[in-house]
Symmetry: D4
Subunit: 252 residues, 8 copies
């Protein structure tokens, strides 16, 4: 309920088009429906510039389908579903069109948008970080961004990273995905002049403590322009990278 | 040493302008000087689009002045000095012009640039978060950004935040500074469609654990577009906000 | 053994009704029985105003049934069983009447009491918090309270919460159930003038650390009237909310 | 801005008393003032049933006086100031009447209200827990509650606690303040049928970890009706105890 | 190799009974055998006054049997095996006599010694702590101690504990086994004048953090005479209780 | 109030010596006095076999003197005061005789008892652990035990420890005091057949984390008979060692 | 791309053998191939003196085989594969020769090199530490080192360790593998004058916290020459021990 | 007491040169003296190849002087004193010759040995890591090693590090000193083929948690040949680097 809408509502009351009671009712009619177990938000696209995303973890395939259908019935063309199992993707696919990306465990229900916004680079320290990186990559692509993948370019073999310096220099935002010591974010952050979104992963063992080592390392990065999202939060990184990329507009 | 420079270097060798030995020498001549205790980096502006910043903590006033002078002698017009004590600022001020911001403990040596880039909003949960917020604000201003300050708008009185919704909606990037439970970042993140840079602060006591509670809270934000920097890292947030803001260009 | 009972016991000795030895014996006869693996407490209702509750986790269906029967044979009409598996509920149901609530994993053996005490609101941040919320809700209902459920009203879409402000305002106690960043408790705490019982849940991943992030966030709430129970402790919250609600008496 | 007020506002527009523009303006006029460093909230009493409280830590005596004056000028009769140093209390006392409680570091500016609401018991494990307990006690008294203090009744000498069972039984809410192992809350929780608000304190050394041991102990209490506030948060406990006590009305 | 043995060895060399080379050899002949995967210690009984104990976790039934046989072949009459699965116990039982205690997962190979040493009390907070308590109890019994079991006497119903005060007063050492908040150790420690060995258990959930809450609570006990062993270390507690009990001699 | 006393009380009522009311009164008359800030316990010696000990930390010299006087007026001959500053010791010494041990910061008010009970060995890993060791040693001596000190015998020079094996073998209880990696407790525990009380100290830096490393190391000791008290808790270790030593009687 | 290679490249350009464009191309041709999911590094042997090692965890047998083949096709004779399951080893063994060590879960593809470098001792505290120790041992052997294994020589029976003092004294580097309290590293470090590489293991339970106790203990070792690798990182220890051993050359 | 010495001792007994009693006495005469507060170890040089080092922290100047004198009186030519304050250095300097290094807070009493062993490189991430690096450097120099210092070469400006690749390639051991995210160790470890000793420092703030972030980062290094010492343990790193360097012999 923004200022302009509120003002227009008052105007309608002043003009006698609405009674005060009707106006109150309208203010309280929220742009979501209540499915009992969830309250899908139909206006998020208006309010936040991006479609509602369903976090699939801990929801049944039936629940996901219901939320999805409810959103699409209310006019949303694309629904992103993260942490989606292959089985649930197949179940939903019987009712509505779903493009499923297995490594990143992401499904795109409905239309797959064009990738027309300037480059986002997504880099990983190792092979094992790929599922998180793919969650970020598919999220960014589903939100209309061009994505360049640079996987297995960790700091133990820094020449592998440096050999891709032109791709890195071309990016408007870089997502650095790494577990273990998480140094990738700092090294990239020291090379570029665009925002670096660091994603610690739970890859590693022992004193990696499920991603804590990489998380702390990234939070303490001595390079400028580095910020951090939750451990394994590929979606969050892809979503934020898209937001930043969109500020610069469509082509590049 | 980017690709183009390297190619041009080879060309000069091929043209007989440089001997191979001279070329090697040139490659190894790094764009920094060695002061013994520090190695100021003169090309960071080229490489990263922003001037070198001096982290004042743990450096003597003499050391800061030397680094500052070394940078300005090499052509840098503005040097940002964070975590700068009032005494050190005064000491440096005798030799070079310094604008000192006491609350945020930030000094700007040399020219203060114009603020011409679109809005950055910096919000705090409480009064005690102001020093961190000011570090972010002065950093962003020194890098050429317009800054709107919204202080003491924490979630315990959410109407104070909501009354500023038009400022919030106008931002290209928002810095949310909060200690204690750090919920401010999530609440703002749920309202806007621009990147939110969350800065946990060490404000609080007991189970705040020096900012850990706010840090974890912000990392787990269920709102999209939120990323996190280190506890009390106002500089990092201001620097990143500026980077994002510059993607959108000068006016708005 | 309260003061009055002790005094009456002395009186009986003084009156010659009991010998000193018999009095000692009576004092040491405790109001519980010893099943070997457990010592059900028959007087808790007297002492604490609420029936004994069985924590089902780690107990076999046989053990639960024995404790249950022992309590009911000693006059207790309603026995609440938390963390009760469906299988155990069925096993017990063959011997004594049990109402089983699957989402919250709560069973009510014996009579289900009327809900006649003023409102308790139970709100959750997301869909995944429902099992904990239902444990709280069924507990509160079993103790005679009217319960209003507000699920999936997390802070990332704060208008969903605000649209229920009349229900929230009507409550004598509110249970705020949330995982991830746990900001729900603070936001509700800032809106109302009744006690808010915050329940962190283990919902989330990575830096949620099994509910630690939500726990710390809730403990640091800057809103007044908020207190916290253990992670996932829906029962504890429902029990406490009932206690508070009963202070205000039956109707409202 | 509650429902009734909003409806009345619409009515005024419908009646032509206000123009739509004026209505919007009025909605946006928030019930607080902006002192630059703080935004005192004049309507909290209406919204939350208790006066604004100033958290004195990290604020200068001048700032506290300004906020205090601003609140009292807007009609608030009593202002509670916690974490108030003796020096700041004296400074403020020159301008407005302040009753200062040194052990709990609490100041009451303006009228000291009558204590007319039913009993709150505040118990401590040891002598060193007294400052936190006094913060709770003075807060509760300033909010109109009768308070019974039971200090140094820790579990290592449980008969000291049991000797006060009649006071404990008379309470509508009990605040259990303890550091070290924090067992006091569980022991009291096992004896009574009213809410127990547990306050871990930072008293102790070594593996007390600044109150963490007591905090975890209290969160894991196996007794019903126990909830926990932040380490050393005497104010929060006193405030919540008052809220609960007020539900039961004035006398007892 | 103690002083007396060394002196006697030198005497034999001085007397010409042993050559220096033979003496060196004898010193280096260690009182253990090398099974490749383990080095059973045959002299521990001499050195430490108690037989070798096999920690069964992570060893195959075959390995346990081999170590057991090796020890018994070298004259040990009783071998205690902790963390022994029922299957492994059965496997071993085919070759040597084994008494298996299922709840505590302890096996006694060979002779079961008489229980003739003065009382050890083993108390638990709840039913779920029984496996750990039984590990302690069977260990103590296997080492010749009389054991009194007091299970489910946690502090939430303190009268259950107090009703057993005569047993508690009769003990030379008490093992207090409790998870969750672990307050049992403090309460017992405040009642008695004998050593209390506190065993935190991993019973609980959420902020119990696998026994950490109970561990910290017990380490911070304000009662005298309380010391702590590792989480779930029933064996260690039973072994230490036996050591203490033996200081007092056989009968009581 | 033990069984015998209770029975005798009932007998007096039965004999008409006491009225029921007087009996109740007597039961409620607790064996402590209330100084306002503390409740000294006069019967602890009866109940626990050792005199009341005053924990000096956080108490003023005046408070300590008052508690001390109150205890001695009620017949206690020796009062142990731990964590006592030199200044406070001098202040108290003006009123009552105090023997002060500066390294361990322990004062003994009143009579210093004879040391007649069998040996307690107190060993430290390094020189810096001496204050904690002295707190243990003086405590044990004040409770009538013979104490052997073995300081600076840490595992980095294990021959220093082995050269004292006869002293170690002579002990009924050993207190092992060590910071840093805390291995001393395990090494001693592997050599002896008496209880080892491990005291982690806060000596060390970095990953010693204020004694946490030593604490965890000691809790995980693979040697039998080792239990642990709080970090720096010399008093607790000395008190427990004395308890164990007393079980074996006076001489040795 | 080292200095000499760069100089020679320039010389070729100066001599007209390479055009500048070709030189740039050559610099950017990195010594690795891109398999999509991994980028095997063919020059690591040159750069680091040891062949590429494949960390098998989280890679499919197919992926491991592809990387392996790629490396061997590029001239590497021996490829070490750690954390390799038996099934994967068999799968790979169908295509290329693999020697599989089951306890340490290490495979050696291709030639098994001779062990000709001076002694490395690998010691463990207990039987359960063997898998980690074997990972270290096989790694070291695959890199050409002689390895002496001393298993189950933990500090609880220190004579078992001391009986092997001649082997220990003969080593150029010692790997000390231990879980629980991790004291083995300190004890060995106090005996020898060569580097000790400490490997904490996740063996243990309760307050072992998955190897944290051993890790902290080892980091705080008061013995000189001790450094630490990650929990369970047998490979890292074996690799580092080999590096150190190679400094001393082939025979001894 | 090594094997050879023992054998020779037996021979002397066999030859009648020593009586058995005298031999026992000699074995028990330990190569240290007992100063009461410390037991300096005169044979460490024999046993460990390096002189005794005094850890100055927490020792008085008088104590340090006494230990120093005791060691030098027993033939040690050089004594290293770490964590030595300037004041203590001056105090000691009045009695014996001391070379004091202020940044690293290290004193060398007696002769300063020649630096003749092959190169050790000591690198730091930033200027603030210098004190720890100097502690390592002076330690290594005092033990006879050539040291190359590379300070302020952190990963945020990786070209500063790469410009020193020839020095780095020349080293036999590298000490990487860094706080904050500690990535320096991984980056260096990926470049070289010699052991890298990583020293986390407590430099940083917020989520650096006193060096924990750097510590975890370094423990999880994905580069081979990296091991870690305690936070701020410059001495330990310098000592270990020297040990490794000495394996390679004197010149290079």
């Amino acid at each position: 309920m923004q200022k302009e809408q509120l003002k227009s509502l008052f105007q309608k009351v002043a003009d006698g088009i609405l009674s005060p009671e009707e106006a109150v009712m309208q203010i309280k009619t929220e742009p979501f429906t209540d499915l009992g177990f969830a309250k899908p938000d139909f206006h998020r696209e208006l309010r936040q510039g991006a479609a509602e995303v369903i976090y699939g973890e801990g929801k049944t395939a039936e629940q996901i389908l219901k939320i999805c259908t409810s959103l699409m019935d209310n006019g949303q063309k694309t629904v992103l579903i993260t942490r989606l199992s292959k089985e649930a993707a197949e179940y939903i696919g019987h009712s509505i069109p779903v493009t499923y990306h297995e490594t990143g465990r992401v499904g795109i229900a409905g239309e797959v948008p064009d990738s027309k916004h300037g480059n986002i680079v997504i880099a990983t320290g190792g092979t094992s970080d790929m599922p998180v990186a793919e969650e970020a990559a598919v999220t960014a692509e589903a939100l209309g961004n061009k994505v360049i993948r640079l996987y297995d370019v960790g700091v133990a073999g820094i020449h592998r990273l440096l050999s891709h310096s032109s791709e890195i220099m071309s990016a408007r935002a870089i997502v650095a995905v790494a577990g273990m010591e998480g140094a990738l974010a700092s090294v990239i952050g020291g090379l570029v002049d665009c925002p670096v979104i660091a994603v610690p992963t739970s890859v590693g063992y022992g004193a990696a403590f499920g991603g804590l080592a990489a998380l702390l390392s990234m939070l303490n990065s001595c390079a400028g322009g580095v910020s951090v999202v939750n451990i394994d939060n590929g979606f969050g990184a892809g979503y934020l990278a898209s937001m930043i990329n969109h500020i610069g507009g469509v082509s590049q």
